[in-house]
Symmetry: none
Subunit: 244 residues, 2 copies
DNA sequence: ACATTCGGCTTGTATATACAAGTGGTGCGA
DNA sequence: TCGCACCACTTGTATATACAAGCCGAATGT
């Protein structure tokens, strides 16, 4: 039937994946020059415009930066991607001129119970990926992140290097996000959270539950827990005056 | 010499601006179909690929959505900030089928100190209006609202009847809001706040600092303090991944 | 009456080409 | 030596073309 199904993925996607891989395994370190459009076109036996598309989209994604006349370079893993509301925590920290680091607590597969299955829009009892990370700013914990990921949409999540890319970056690459749903609460931490975040006695947390969607469904569900003393959420938005 | 330098901005940018303008002034309402690539190419006397670029980039920016075989449509960007959408608390409560009431603690004039003057964009030592209210849902306090108002933009604020209209409604009437700036924090209440909100021992608060703008400047600055047990902030956003 | 096919419209991918424009080096001339 | 012109290489914009692939309604056949 579909002859094109042999060509599983588009050529510009292959080039993107190739470049991402080189960046991930540090063959091409930060700030290094990546091959020019013409060089990639020759290497992949495609036209310059196809290679160009791969570079342009990775530039939009914040993986690369381009400069007319000079070339294309691997972004210093902060760059300016900073999407509006969904900010990358590592970006935010680096933007403040502070040092970002991450501690991986747990990465594993789990079986979805009914509630989680509904949240992710998948079948109950199917496997989901789970990660538990602590994000640190100058060595101080600023976010405890528990995240469930839809394996259908991000099959390589478990094997990713979280010290190179934040979960947010990985998910953006795998499935472009179209929407997000948030619940924001003030909570008192339990003992485990308190010790993970090195909280003072009687210190509340700002907890964000976030569900992100792509066109293919729910990508992931995350609980982001922040010490109130080290985090506040801010932003400026245009006001919609809808009246339902 | 360079004919192209007359063309200050690129053609695909012009097309983008044209489309954005139509969306802004609602000539093309939400979910309506926008001209096809070929139609735009003809209208702007350019190649299909140039029109295509404009559409693609607006799609990436979340202004449009595209669907192979069907066409390109104006995205529903209504949910661009429902979490931080300026909702009317009395509407929200009534929407839940509960009884809304308000308790007026204080309404007065104050002299702005330097910090407040900067916040409101007015001269220091000038007068500002201040109100302090408690909003109740079925008799239980759900929000303590401290609000400073720019008297130049809302001259009749002090004499308003807050049992009839919420501050939000009064401000919207006086000066249409165009933008809002938020800071969200988890805090522990002091004794006064705790007694006003009838908080349990050791209960944190979700505190929203909100500055609202109209085209003429800052309208007001508010601190909205909610008991965590009786409030959570939620909403669904569309995610824009545009680069500035 | 119903299902199937088909054609027209749409977006998606890919190519070849041309010129514009920014960067940096090399070499030439004053 | 200094400045300048020039050139090679790079990314940016624009065009023309081709075919693939998804959607939908209209025509067709049973």
């Amino acid at each position: 039937m579909k002859i094109a199904s042999i060509m599983a993925i588009a050529k510009f996607e292959q080039i993107k994946q190739f470049i991402c891989h080189q960046v991930e395994i540090s063959t091409w370190p930060e700030n290094s020059k990546v091959p020019s459009e013409n060089a990639l076109a020759q290497q992949f036996d495609c036209s310059r415009m196809t290679a160009r598309r791969a570079l342009t989209e990775l530039c939009d994604a914040g993986i690369l930066v381009r400069s007319q006349g000079r070339g294309t370079f691997v972004a210093t893993l902060k760059s300016q991607s900073s999407a509006l509301e969904i900010k990358n925590i590592s970006d935010e920290i680096r933007q403040r001129g502070h040092q970002y680091s991450v501690e991986v607590l747990l990465i594993e597969q789990r079986i979805a119970d009914d509630e989680l299955a509904i949240t992710l829009g998948i079948d109950a009892q199917s496997t989901v990926y789970f990660s538990s990370l602590i994000h640190l700013e100058n060595g101080q914990p600023v976010q405890l992140e528990h995240r469930y990921v839809n394996p259908a949409l991000v099959p390589n999540y478990l094997t990713s290097d979280f010290t190179k890319f934040t979960p947010h970056e990985l998910l953006s690459l795998a499935a472009p996000l179209t929407e997000a749903e948030h619940i924001i609460e003030a909570t008192m931490p339990d003992n485990q959270v308190s010790s993970y975040l090195q909280l003072a006695e009687n210190e509340p947390c700002l907890e964000i539950k976030r569900r992100t969607f792509s066109s293919n469904g729910v990508v992931s569900f995350a609980r982001l827990i922040h010490p109130s003393s080290r985090f506040r959420l801010g932003g400026r938005f245009s006001v919609t005056t809808k009246k339902p």
